[in-house]
């Protein structure tokens, strides 16, 4: 990942991935899914030389 992927994540509206993990590489979502392990595995398969930035997309008002 580059820091740019984090900054892209901050700016982007990812609502369509609500409740899912997204893997971001080169400022775009390359994989999404409910299970982080599967998302990482698939992202690594697609981009073996890159380290994806992972984020859980939230859309619920919550108290932790």
């Amino acid at each position: 990942m580059t820091y740019a992927d984090y900054e892209w994540f901050l700016k982007e509206n990812l609502t369509k991935y609500a409740g899912k993990w997204v893997a971001i590489v080169d400022e775009r979502v390359i994989v999404s899914g409910k299970d982080a392990a599967l998302v990482v595995k698939e992202a690594k398969a697609k981009y073996p030389t890159k380290r994806p930035f992972l984020a859980k997309v939230r859309n619920k008002l919550s108290i932790l």
Binding site: Y6, K41, K56, R58
Partner: protein, 143 residues
């Protein structure tokens, strides 16, 4: 100056927006290291990681179990520890720390929709953390 981040504006189901202090950390495990957006929560006693993420990086899941209480819920968690790197804009600004973590099963935990929550123990004693929402800044200074 320390590490400076911005709030992540996220749209809720009803169309309104909220801002969350989510910062980039590298979570190091036995299998792999993953960069992930972590939520800072001063109301959470410890750092909490979803089980699926813990498995993805290869954290130790064989620790003792305890119960984590939140608002009106209780969850069984596994006591473990993890190395994580707080990422700066430039790699030379990165700060690596080791912290105790609680691993919560994804389907049961109150943090189900957060992925990783950075709580007080092990984090707030390593960083002075300033939330400046009016400036859209979160500033972490290493202690």
């Amino acid at each position: 100056m320390g590490l400076v981040y911005k709030f992540k504006k996220e749209q809720l189901e009803d169309g309104t927006f909220v801002s969350h202090p989510r910062i980039p950390v590298i979570l190091h495990g036995e299998n792999v290291s993953i960069e992930v957006a972590a939520l800072i929560d001063s109301g959470c006693d410890a750092t909490v990681i979803q089980e699926d993420l813990a498995k993805a990086v290869g954290l130790n899941l064989k620790g003792s179990e305890s119960t984590l209480y939140a608002f009106r819920e209780a969850s069984i968690v596994i006591n473990s520890k993890a190395s994580m790197t707080f990422m700066g804009r430039k790699a030379r600004q990165n700060i690596k720390v080791q912290v105790p973590v609680l691993i919560v099963k994804s389907k049961e935990g109150f943090s189900e929709d957060a992925g990783i929550v950075l709580g007080v123990e092990g984090i707030f004693d390593k960083f002075n953390i300033h939330f400046k929402k009016n400036k859209n800044q979160i500033v972490l200074n290493s202690v």
